[in-house]
């Protein structure tokens, strides 16, 4: 299972046949293992790592630090559920340290994100304060380097 997850984690587009060859198990076994991982929720989704700067689409990302008041009974989860329901929100983490929730948001422009924070996030009952940090440049995302051309510098012997 670990090896299969490691392969998919590095390249989710490998075919069942390729994975079967690489792990020396049958294709049926690959399908069964993946089905189980999906069913158990270990595999949540398959996505591409996109460098939006290389496309025509405008894309701005911000990381927002939220301080919130946990609610009786539901704690942080109630507010987290509320926030993760917004489609602009890419990720929500509960944090240790100086603030409570880290929210990653993408939009088409700074204005769009500013409006989202001002009109939707900040007014929520439990939110005490927000601090919005815009991403200026992505160097690495999901283990993939966005910076440099990754030239193979190995010599020839």
């Amino acid at each position: 299972m670990d090896k299969l997850l490691k392969l998919l984690d590095s390249n989710a587009r490998l075919t069942d046949e390729q994975i079967a060859t690489m792990l020396d198990i049958s294709e049926a076994e690959v399908r069964a293992q993946i089905a189980k991982l999906e069913k158990d929720g270990a595999i949540r989704a398959y996505k591409a790592v996109v460098d939006w700067d290389k496309t025509d689409r405008e894309c701005v990302t911000a990381i927002i630090e939220l301080k919130v008041t946990p609610r009786r009974d539901v704690g942080f989860e109630g507010i987290a559920e509320q926030i993760m329901a917004f489609e602009e929100v890419e990720s929500v983490y509960l944090m240790s340290g100086g603030y409570d929730l880290s929210v990653r948001v993408t939009g088409r422009s700074f204005q769009e994100i500013a409006a989202f924070v001002a009109k939707r996030l900040a007014p929520l009952d439990s939110v005490i304060s927000t601090a919005t940090h815009f991403v200026l440049r992505r160097y690495k995302e999901s283990n993939v380097m966005f910076l440099g051309d990754n030239q193979d510098e190995r010599g020839y012997i």
Binding site: N11, M22, R154
Partner: protein, 391 residues
């Protein structure tokens, strides 16, 4: 000055390595995708690098003893004992060298005298023949064949032995074929050697990269073989440490005493910074090796699968990080195949003939590359075959 006439004809008569030539062409091309490099794509594990850096920061930049730092030789002794099950005394039977290739050179220079025959199974790495010749020896190739899994057979060995035979080179796991010699194959070789005075240069640099359930076996571990074996290995392949230039050679004390003299005068000692890093590798690097081996193993299966699907028949390589598919069905010579593939699809692989004449009909493909890189290369090789009506 007439340089050609004045220089040593043994050297001027030697061909440069056939691996290199293609890279020089490839280097001048755009968009080349190479499967030709014979070194790990991993960087040296961080904790190993860190020990090298630490030694520099502390200013430990002096020579070490000729044979290498005592603690490193202790650690090497422990590593070999643990992984290969053979015993070498750190103070008299282990020498730290500048890469595995220095160990090969030392062995040749110490054992071979003018006219001695050195048996070299081929296809094999490019350095054995020239080094034997430089030592004054006569290189005698022994052809290994795909149908024998590119192993050295007792029969072929027996046929090559003459009264002048001084040394047998045993280069397994093999670069370029990926062949390994399992215990039963080594037993057959040992049977031929017992009772002779023939030495063996066992180049086991790829030993840690042996795939499958059975682990690597060294000839030196078999009855009557230790005393005739010069065991060569190093850090480059197992620990992704090629640029540190560090290897080691192990041999019985009388032999080691003489080899140490050659090393002493030619190299003095191996790089100190590398020796500090190597101690960490030997003492705490087993998990790194395991992890990298597993990674290579899945790539190995992947590339063998892809090549076989294209009809480039590929015997199952069980060691190192190369595959050696047959290109016979294309009708090209190895050289032509590689040249055309490079010119048209910008994919660089190495012709089998770089590893001995019997490498004709094969190419060496390295899988020290990411799966994405290998996938792209396979796509292009497929396109090349299709353009020739071969698929």
């Amino acid at each position: 000055m007439n340089y050609e006439k004045l220089m040593n004809p043994t050297i001027t008569g030697m061909k440069p390595s056939g691996i290199r030539r293609f890279f020089d062409i490839a280097n001048d091309m755009e968009d080349v995708i190479s499967l030709s490099i014979g070194e790990p794509d991993f960087s040296t594990p961080f904790h190993i690098r860190d020990k090298g850096v630490e030694s520099l920061e502390k200013g430990k930049t002096w020579y070490t003893s000729n044979a290498g730092m005592p603690r490193l030789r202790e650690a090497i002794s422990g590593y070999i004992k643990r992984h290969v099950g053979i015993t070498y005394a750190p103070d008299t039977e282990i020498l730290v060298t500048v890469g595995g290739s220095e160990g090969i050179d030392l062995c040749m220079r110490t054992l071979v005298t003018a006219g001695d025959e050195v048996l070299i199974p081929q296809p094999s790495f490019v350095c054995y023949e020239p080094l034997a010749q430089m030592a004054g020896g006569v290189a005698v190739p022994i052809v290994t064949r795909a149908e024998d899994g590119f192993r050295l057979t007792a029969q072929a060995l027996k046929a090559a032995i003459t009264p002048k035979t001084k040394l047998l080179v045993l280069p397994f796991p093999s670069n370029p074929t990926g062949a390994v010699m399992r215990r039963e194959h080594l037993e057959a070789i040992a049977e031929v050697l017992r009772g002779t005075d023939i030495f063996v240069l066992s180049d086991e640099i790829y030993a840690d990269l042996t795939y499958g359930e059975a682990s690597h076996v060294s000839l030196a571990s078999l009855d009557g073989m230790w005393e005739r074996t010069v065991y060569v290995s190093g850090f480059s392949k197992s620990f992704a440490m090629t640029g540190w230039r560090l290897g080691y050679v192990c041999a019985p004390a009388p032999l080691m005493k003489q080899m140490t003299k050659v090393h002493q005068y030619a190299l003095m000692c191996a790089p100190t910074v590398s020796q500090y890093a190597a101690i960490e590798a030997m003492e705490n690097g087993d998990d790194d090796v395991k992890e990298m081996r597993e990674d290579y193993d899945s790539r190995r299966r992947f590339i063998v699968g892809e090549l076989n699907k294209m009809g480039l028949r590929c015997f199952d390589p069980e060691g190192a990080f190369y595959v050696f598919p047959s290109i016979e069905k294309t009708g090209f010579t190895a050289e032509d195949f590689c040249t055309q593939l490079l010119m048209e699809q910008h994919v660089a692989v190495v012709p089998g003939t770089a590893f001995g004449e019997c490498g004709e009909g094969f190419v060496r493909i390295s899988y020290c590359y990411s799966i994405a890189h290998i996938t792209e290369a396979m796509k292009r090789i497929r396109a090349f075959l299709e353009s020739r009506g071969l698929l």
